[in-house]
Amino acid sequence: MAGNTTGGGSQPASLATHERRALPAVFTRWWHALRELYARPSSALGTTLVLVFLAMALFGPLIAPYSATEQISGAARQAPSVQHLFGTDHLGRDVFSRVVLGARDILALAGLGTLFAVVIGTLIGLFSAYRGGLTDEVTFRFFDSLLALPALLLALLVLGVVGPSRNSVLVVLVIVYVPIVARVVRSVVLSTKQKGYVEAARLQGESTASIVRRDIFPSVTPALTVEAGLRFSYAIFLVASLGFLGVGVQPPNPDWGLMVSQARPYVSLTPWALYFPAAAIALLVIGVNLAADGLKRVMLPGREV
């Protein structure tokens, strides 16, 4: 009805794209999304947190005053001070340096795991749902049965088989998240493949690959971006949990979960060695969550969270 007519609101947006015509469309889109994320306080906070941790991961060695494993002689169990911002742990390692340097590991692991899971899950979701039939049925029944197990239990099961290491954690993330991503993609594909433009493409003899790429994938991207953000935050949590349980990243790597676990026996002596990595985990998860929430508003307008 009348209320739906596109009004003057579209004008500033089209002007903005005109100014930045020189840049590729992808950048303009991301720039636009970033500006929208900063329009709300909560998503602005989340985005800032994520960017800060990202900077830590990229420039960690430049920021950290000590190395992750250096045991400073005679400086064990020191409370936070100007020299050791977050204090030192029971072995005399600088907690601040370990937290900063640990960002790279957790972000890389969670990020790569999410990326692989999203790519594999998307491909399976796209083609399986578009083709339909028995293969689709069997694939998704299997995924459903995987989803019935709690993520941590599944992770412990897999790690029990392949043994703890960085690569194993990556494998775990992929196994745990592929079914979830595939399911999200599938639901969008199922509604899109019945639309007139997809059927018209089929009638013009387009190949499956080309229809999936040109006509179906673009409809999947908004939901996929949101899902990827959500998966990323859970992946951080899972990597930290596995580190804490001792089946993830192995010592002496500065993994936050591992740090919390190692500092636990000494909590009355060096509480800072536990609190700071724990706070880092919490802040990163909160940051990613807030940013993902904001992303949902930008990418899927109208669908209230």
Binding site: M1, G3, T5, G7, Q204, G205
Partner: protein, 696 residues
Amino acid sequence: MSDEPHRALEVEGLTVTYRRGQGSLDAVRNVSLRIAEGQAYGLVGESGSGKSTLALAIMQYLPENGLISGGAIRLAGQELATLPGEQMRQVWREQIKLVPQDPGSSLNPSLRIGDQLDEALSDGGETRGGVRERSLEQLRQVHIADPERVAASYPHQLSGGMQQRVLIAMALAGQPSLLILDEPTTNLDVTTEAAILDLVCELVQSHQTAMLYVSHNLAVVAAVCDRIAVLYAGELVEDLTPEQLRSQPLHPYTVGLLDSLPRVGQRAGVDPLLPIAGNMPRLDEVPAGCVFAPRCPIALQLCHELRPDLEATQQGSLVRCHRWREIQAGAVDLRAARPANVTAPDESLSGKIALETKDLVKHFPVRRSLREALRRTPPRSVHAVDDVSLQVGQRRTLGLVGESGSGKTTTARCIVGLVERTGGEVSLFDIALAPGLDGRDAAVLHRLQMVFQNPEEALNPHRTVGDVLQRSLERMRGLGKTEARQQAGRLLEAVRLPPSYLDHTPGQLSGGEKQRVAIARAFASNPDVLILDESVSALDVSVQASILNLLTDLQSEQGSAYLFISHDLAAVSYLADDIAVMYLGQVVEIGPTEQVLQPPFHPYTEALLSAVPRIDAAAGIERILLSGDLPSAVDPPGGCRFHTRCPRLLGEICRTQAPPWQQAAPGHRYRCHIAPNELAAMQSPAFRDHITTVSP
């Protein structure tokens, strides 16, 4: 004026504004109307005219961002616009009732009909038995034959028409002062619509309620209402009686609407539709002068500069036009100024059969429940299409009509291969076509194209119009990139869109424009046969007319054959050379258009024809109402499938024996036990008057 009838509703100078971001838009501007008790007032307009906004404003039910920024609304003397919330709820409960467009979503799916009615009727002081008695009485009033069964049913167990009757019964409970019907028949089949319209007419007269009937369909409103207001871009442009609408409408927009509406029997080659050029202005681009001036065939400089007032004519109608006196006096010819460049179809090349189906069958298996599987109940299936044989001649148009559930869309999808047929044959110029798309050669695919129903889903929202057309040209004609780009511009030209649209995304186009691009895409390969599945049904009347004319033009330019599928007999008869009528998966009648539209015809065709709402109140055509609902296609009735609803039922023979094909004329056959001469004697000769035949 004390002798005026009692005014139930008075709307004075109403302006409704929607807030949008920083700015605001006036969706309804300065509209006044009065409805007396017992009067039926029709509100007509195309999408974007503001008719729904106006109805919502009267009910005080505008969305969050809408507000009444001027004027007054009085119901039985009481001002509604300033009424506090609690009192407004009282008004909703007792005085204003609404019959909504979608009956399915307006009834609570988890409560029985009787309980919902009881709740609406109960005033708290009655026994349950007493309320139920009144509920049943209310159901009887809307001509529900077995109210006890309906009251015990859940909404999903009733057909759409039955649900709408229940909602009307509910709305009429407690004698409301104002009944608002918002497109109550738009989602219903034509035979059901006819029955509901009859019911509404009868109830308005018997209840002395004021009724506001909102619709996009001029013919429906003219059939039901005492007075009609035509809305355009938020303004009331004409307010007149149905008689004045038929004899002498004065506003160019009203005339344009009437000329855009195909009548049953009107043929493209003989008596073309005269569509209105252009589109309705967006709310943020309302012209400074007359709102209709940019599309008006007789607009003067004055019309673009000065907004006309709503003036009263001697006959009591109101019109908002600078030139209405000249129009009334016949000094300007509205139609001459709007040439319809429809080229008459060239018959010379026809003769060969382009598309043929032989005994096409499609059964969809029904999943058995666990219990059925354990008991080894044989699997059942939906008989969507049964033994359908059609032929479409080269350069000719076959129209396929039928109500929802008749199997016409499944037939189309089987032909193009989107659905794999269960049996029968499909051939294109004697090339046998495989059931599925995978088994068909690309070259064959390109000769058979289809345009779908929903314009909103016709185009990939992520690609520009140019990309879409270019891709089709590259694939189907093997053109290079630059050449395809040029040809894409030419395709746009062929569907009468400017080349600048190549860079537009579908989001920037209106529904009609999207459908034009979809047609252009289908024509990229110069198909031998084009299937149009309800392709104009979702469009506004004036847009629909221009697309129909476009299709006629394209046919004579390109020489494609059409299979035109629609539930709208008038649109089908406008385009089609031949018509096939489908009922419950079978073709019941097939023949040349002029012959199918006049007796003798199949009793189902007769019912369809009599139900079509007509502007020119068809003299002598008696409405034939079909009893009951469409039977389930899982176990279609034995004998003649139409026997459960047939008004001309003979008796036992119809129930047990499948009817034979009867030859009414060369090429005109129907499936019935009654012979042509007997059938012709039963059927009203009045139908003959409505055909404009091709000159002999």
